[in-house]
Subunit: 407 residues, 4 copies
């Protein structure tokens, strides 16, 4: 039973614009496979070994890597859509793939050119799965010199993908400097807390991580070393946060699509009309029709804005080193607008689908509450009020508060 | 750690109006006890044996029974408030007590006078816990004559409290007539499905029930028997649905109070200020202050309306047999208005408390998602759009669509 | 044709609680009279001479004055309800009466005892109409000594009732001190700008005012003179702002009631069913019924909270000099919660009534847009976000930001 | 002082996609001109003679006509954007141009080929301005034979553009048949009621119209005559309603853009920070920033969906006679989704801009209430609940209730 197999054509139009539509088909196939077991896996809390393998086998891990390096050479726009499609079936897996894209590019963009080429080659060749441990609300990990290399120590309350990752990106203090590291996930001394226990995004392996005298090679440190204190960061790194946020937006919207598609099928196949409704089928109830239409309309608008944001991010990436701060901020503002809008829409839809389906849809065998739990959990990643504030800040004052996440 | 012990004074004002304030103190004590184990019990899915015992020992099962019969002689207004207080800690237990009140009175009000006096006496004397199996969306159970008594057969998809009940109320078809029965819960042939698996109200024991040739005595059948086809029902029975709904309203509102109280404590004790907020404590964040204030304001309004509705229901009960249809409909409309308003408010608050508390509040150890799951599950009991419709219907057309639940 | 004459019983319940119900009947009579000409007067921008006379003749100007002084001896709760009833027909007149109550008591409570008794006696005896010029966002007016009296100079961007007032209250700087003055409105040198041109509350006479060497007597200065720098203000003066706000709340809610009552009548008498609705009358349209019910429910809740707030303010007033800051803040918080809730509800209802009535209801001959224009204009008196903030502030931090309006 | 001259870049991105960007520049110039007098003209109720001349001179009347006939050969997508831009300054003029586009094409698409070519040629050559009188809620006008021509009689409660129109389209009963007529506006016997008195869209000349024995030529009757009873309508005519609705959507969104742009300028230039805000400028107030950002985000999403709908309508038009019902319904559903979403967003923004600007922004000299009045008036054209219903109907049942407007 898959959410995507019976998916009506209503969402198709936005996607017809896509150039390399193959990846969307592949994503739909993976989504179909994910949805067969999504409810059971979530209930069991099964770590996503198998599912990461599916992503790898489907070629989705190397989607964004250049063709000349053996990757698919797809665009971030493709990646946003792939993530959205996967989220219809399983938001945890969509998040995992999102962080993989983000964290690997965060590394590639900070690396110097030779490092970058080598990392990309290895990442594609060995189909690396990337993780990270960069929660800025914890203290930095500490890097110290040790012979011809270094030792890493410290703890992060949350990590992303790290327990399964071939490479873990993280920032560490080295004396007065801060360096970005791409650490082999198999190194000795890395301890995973396996303590992620949120009520949503249960399969994302986002628990704590500790580093006990972990060996770090010079080559694992990205970019110039030792870093020059005042060297400007590569322009593309200023896009890391907006891209991150737009990946979020897409898996929120995909989750809302999944919720509405399940409601659609349920209403047609199972829901009974209310006793005083005077209609023969639930799908003819005036209030169900109107509410469905209203939620669907809001979702269409939010998806449309996510697509506009993707276009702007793509254009900003295309400017490369020439990307000006105002261009970056304009694209970032569109992403944050999409974040603000999609957060409200996704929370609303995942809670109100039950008004469409009625009392029996709360049975645990459907697992329909996971949509709300997933969206509710991840939309707290950063407070949405502050993103709305930045949208207003750019519109009114022409500036955005600099994000302390990635200086 | 209890939700009620640190409860600020802000909700106190409405309750200072209460005459017999003792019952509110007792309810708060039971709530404090419930909240100590609420998260763990819900996770384990423990059937509420112990908790029903607490209700019994606290005197809450006989709260509404007349003093002359040994009950507390309290009013339905007291009962509404008791239910609201319990729901701050545990909405399942608040629901169980609500159905106990409703189902027992549904029986008392349908019984003839002598029956009623006997039932009340027994119910108080033995501290009966009442259940029911009256879901109108299933077929009626079938009653057939058998010697000096009867046999009952049939199945109901949902029941309420039945698996623990001393008496189970239900309607059965007897030939062309429909009779109301108060069945001893221990009778042979009653099989409980134990199949309640909704994602909310998990401890309410609302699963299916089957009756296999269950013996029914003449005295178990309430009111005149055989029933006269056209005999009007006692006037008070027309209040059963509004009272039912106002009990719901109160446990929705209590759940929202509990959610907001937990958020209050969490913000003060644990939440960290956002990194770009510029404030030292989460409780000084401008967006947290405003959102808290906004949710709190809506909740205060909804509680105030529930109190107005209680006053009107009380007045309608007081009219007894003289209750006119328009008086009944006016009181019912106020209850339905409270239902419409409280449903929106409770869903909103239980979802948005997380915006107040931030990402870490999603940890399973807090169980804060149970507030939304509980409210979301039970607010589907009947579609709220149809209750809004009835409010409009009475205001515009002076009538209410007759409720097919209890003819 | 009056909004109040056909008013259905749905709002009656809350008011049945009222002790001196006579004043409500009188208010309803005045409201009926006001509504006959409300649309035409607003369009013509007629200054409210006649309407103030009606208030005076009906005894509403002296409603709050003690019986022993010849007043009606009614409570603020009565005044809140009177204002709400008038606002159903004409929000401008309801505002005018509100400011009259507020400004006169602001004077009485600041006066020393002898002054107060004299002022009340005169105010009742001559049926004074009170105004004020206290906008705190302008500079203070300046008071200087002049022989045995004083001279007043300055300008205020907005005033209230002043152009018709027998007494105008205002604050003035006298050297380093700030004094409160109750100035005879007929004094020479007072110039009214007649420049109030907001799109709502058009008949409130809220334009600018200038003072050119206006003579002020010693007796016009309230309280001790010269004021002691650190003398605490009388406790009751700390209730001036909450009472002000609760008067606002009541005329917002009355306006919303008026809007919904007009819609009710229009739907029944004039609205045509939509062509694809399948119903014979607009009042049977499922979406009209549901929306009406939903708006009505929210309004009932908001009114219920306004009544709770009135009870708390009444209790705070009753404490007199013994009123403790926390008691004041608790009552003020309930008022602010009512402000936050009623602002949202009144804006929503006055905009959405048109969805109930349809396209033809926008004809200028009905003047139905005045409800939104009136509410939209006055709800900007102070930003509602800051009131929500204070509600959160009290709930989370046990304090309220001190209001710079009346130090 | 023009709304468009200081318009920040934030809306630019969506429009950069536009091919023939010239028309957008021209529209912006006309909008700048309109906004100079918009407030004064609305207050005076000046009929839009001059403004129609501006549209004619700017080439906007012939925007959609084919280049080979002397028109601009632009697409409907261009027209949607032009209308949106004009609405930022003056929603009445944007409506007038919308109806001109719609009514002329309604005629062209119903005409047979030769008639169509002639009509287009004349329309372009003489820069005709088109009107209509087709309100389906009135009785049809009556056409009767008269010599070699016909006579038309009847009355319509509302008309569009008719009092200034070179051609008026309308439907008339001819015996049992219904015919579409393109009537010269200067014919004898046409009487304009000049009785449009809604509180919004004041300059749209939408009053009643009467036909007293108006002469109609055979050539004024469009399509085959006499009509064959069962002849299917040309496929493109099924797009008339969706195109109509998408024009509405665009002038709602343009109005919301105009409102937000005015608020933007006002906040930066005039608004004072609130006294307890602790910030130096209104544009730094946390609540203003967040609310602005939130409204802006919703508007961006709604505009993005309007653009998607334009793409789908364009594709449907491109299919011409081959347009299948499902393709039509899919495109129509996207338009209706945009209608549902934009109605909510535009009402919300035009009411809430005042929370951004504060009390003084209600002064009549700004005329800022016109945005809400315009949107509120026109969004009642057809009940939005029924459009939401159709969105749900297509998603759940794969069908749309056939619109009785244009059978």
């Amino acid at each position: 039973m898959t959410a995507t197999s019976t998916q009506p054509a209503v969402f198709a139009a936005d996607e017809r614009l896509v150039a390399g539509a193959d990846w969307l088909s592949i994503a739909e196939q993976v989504a179909a496979r994910l949805s067969e077991t999504a409810v059971a896996r979530e209930r069991a809390g099964t770590p996503p070994h198998t599912e990461i393998t599916w992503l790898r086998e489907a070629g989705l891990l190397t989607l964004l890597n250049p063709k000349e390096a053996g990757g698919a050479g797809a665009t971030f726009t493709d990646a946003f859509r792939v993530v959205r499609i996967l989220a219809r079936a399983d938001t945890s897996i969509a998040q995992i793939l999102s962080y993989h894209y983000l964290l690997s590019h965060s590394a590639f963009w900070r690396a110097d050119q030779e490092q970058c080429e080598r990392l990309v080659r290895q990442s594609v060749g060995q189909k690396w799965f990337w993780g990270g441990a960069s929660n800025p609300r914890d203290a930095l990990t500490i890097l110290t010199a040790d012979g011809d290399g270094f030792r890493l120590n410290g703890r992060k309350t949350f990590a992303s993908n790290a327990s399964r990752a071939d490479r873990i990106t993280l920032r560490a203090a080295f004396g007065d400097a801060v360096v970005l590291i791409a650490l082999p996930g198999a190194n000795d001394g890395i301890v995973h807390g396996n303590d992620w226990d949120a009520f949503g995004q249960r399969l994302t392996e986002s628990g704590s991580i500790e580093f006990h005298d972990v060996r770090v090679e010079r080559d694992d440190i990205l970019g110039l070393f030792p870093p020059k204190p005042d060297a400007p960061l590569p322009a593309l790194t200023t896009l890391v946060v907006p891209i991150h946020q737009l990946l979020f937006v897409n898996f929120y919207l995909g989750t809302a699509e999944g919720a509405l598609l399940e409601a659609n099928r349920y209403i047609r196949a199972q829901a009974k009309p209310w006793q005083t409704s005077g209609v023969a089928r639930a799908s003819e109830d005036p209030y169900i029709l109107e509410l469905y239409g209203s939620l669907h309309s809001d979702l269409r608008a939010s998806i449309a804005l996510a697509e506009v944001a993707a276009t702007e991010i793509e254009a900003a990436i295309g400017r490369g080193a020439a990307l000006a701060p105002d261009q970056r901020n304009s694209a970032a503002t569109t992403v944050y607008a999409a974040k603000v809008n999609s957060t409200r829409v996704a929370l609303d839809i995942t809670s109100r689908i039950f008004d469409l389906m009625g009392a029996r849809s709360t049975s645990a065998r459907y697992g329909f509450d996971r949509f709300w739990r997933n969206v509710r959990t991840h939309t707290l990643h950063d407070p949405v009020a502050y993103k709305a504030r930045e949208v207003g800040n750019f519109a009114l004052n022409g500036r955005i508060t600099s994000d302390p996440l990635y200086t």
